[in-house]
């Protein structure tokens, strides 16, 4: 029998992956891509966006009984009314669940509209991710430190999501780029690059702040499973950053030559998405461990 702990990790992983995709992909298409290209790309990604929204809603609904089993005495408490009630109304985790459930269920139908309401989906997913600041490490501190950390963590989560999520429509546009929408495509790429630099810088600044506020150090000690998983993730994300730099400064300038750079760029961007997913899996694994 799978333990409530492991099930909770799996549910959270599914929630976070879906919300990141919805926020980053829809946010980018809504804010950075010219309307015609945006709607064409959104139509291509429709099955993916709908699946993500459905997964977000399903995982969020499931999280409630799993949480009850987790805080209670095991699976027998998953549908126990007293435990559910206590969890929902007497813990901060229950309050967060209510907010996230409302958001997930509101976002879902908007992905089924034709065309999908990209702005609303992006906003809903962003708010969903923002709920992390009420139960993640951000609540470890007390007083003013907690507020600073919550603000910093909020920016951090959204920046990470914007980066990884936006890569999906970006890659889709690369694959289908043709002569018909060259100007739109060039504009969308320039904005991806401009915003991308800002987003990564934001991730770095807020990351420094988070690490400093929480650990008082920036580098992992090496002795625990937690640290080993963390180091694995550092390797994965370092690779992502390298690929991003290579894409921007080596491949993109060569695109006009038509020498196969486009294929490599698509392939590398997809690898970046894959590495981003792997990083998320690693986070969800070590998130259940105590960093101390």
């Amino acid at each position: 029998m799978i333990s409530p702990d492991s099930s909770l990790i799996a549910c959270h992983l599914l929630q976070d992956a879906s919300a990141i995709l919805l926020w980053g992909a829809c946010g980018y298409l809504f804010a950075c891509v010219p309307p015609t290209l945006s709607s064409v790309t959104a139509r291509r990604l429709r099955p993916l966006l709908r699946t993500a929204a459905a997964a977000l809603a399903a995982a969020t609904v499931l999280v409630l009984p799993v949480n009850a089993a987790f805080v209670g005495e095991g699976w027998s408490d998953a549908l126990d009314l007293d435990t559910l009630q206590a969890f929902l109304f007497d813990t901060n985790l229950g309050t967060v669940w209510i907010a996230q459930a409302v958001l997930a269920l509101v976002v879902l139908p908007f992905t089924f509209r034709k065309p999908a309401s990209l702005g609303i989906v992006a906003l809903g997913a962003a708010l969903f991710l923002s709920c992390h600041i009420f139960f993640g490490h951000a609540v470890r501190l007390q007083g003013a430190g907690r507020l600073a950390l919550q603000a910093s963590y909020l920016m951090h989560v959204l920046a990470v999501g914007a980066w990884v999520g936006a890569l999906v429509p970006f890659t889709a546009m690369l694959r289908h780029s043709g002569p018909d929408m060259q100007n739109d495509f060039a504009l969308a790429m320039r904005r991806f690059s401009t915003v991308g630099h800002g987003v990564v810088a934001f991730v770095v600044v807020t990351g420094v702040l988070n690490a400093w506020l929480i650990h008082g150090r920036l580098w992992p000690a090496w002795h625990s499973l937690y640290d080993q998983l963390l180091v694995a993730k550092i390797v994965v994300v370092s690779a992502m950053v390298m690929i991003a730099i290579c894409n921007r400064y080596v491949l993109v300038p060569r695109l006009k030559r038509g020498d196969g750079s486009l294929r490599v760029l698509i392939w590398l961007s997809l690898s970046e998405v894959a590495l981003g997913s792997l990083a998320l899996v690693l986070v969800s694994l070590f998130s259940s461990l105590d960093p101390a």
Partner: protein
């Protein structure tokens, strides 16, 4: 290029450090009576954790040296914070060794448990 690479490696490391401890545990920090202390019969047992806890799924049991449980009042959080659990001791404790077994659900969603002993002086 080397510059860009080293900067980005640092950036990645720092970024990761930022998301390392999304969930941690509310660990035991201190208690009154302190672990292994010899004290006069206490009127309450205070246990402070490293982070905020949810009272609803947190608590502590007191038992004497014969492992007989000693009844206590309803647990509460200390005023002005959510990191200290206060368990009232309703009757004076006889001299001897006592064990406190605590458990908690931290605000960031993790369970933790542990125990400590103290001695009531004759």
């Amino acid at each position: 290029m080397t510059n860009i690479l080293s900067t980005s490696a640092l950036a990645a490391a720092v970024m990761l450090a930022g998301v390392t401890s999304a969930f941690a545990h509310a660990e035991f920090v201190k208690s009154v009576p302190a672990p292994d202390a010899a004290v006069a019969s206490p009127t309450e047992i205070d246990i402070t954790f490293s982070e905020g806890i949810n009272l609803k799924f947190s608590g502590a049991k007191l038992a004497d040296s014969m492992k007989m449980s000693v009844s206590t009042g309803p647990a509460a959080l200390a005023k002005g914070g959510d990191t200290t659990l206060v368990v009232p001791v309703t009757k004076p404790l006889a001299a001897g060794e006592y064990v406190v077994e605590w458990h908690n659900l931290s605000k960031d969603g993790h369970k933790s448990k542990g125990s400590f002993k103290f001695t009531v002086k004759p």
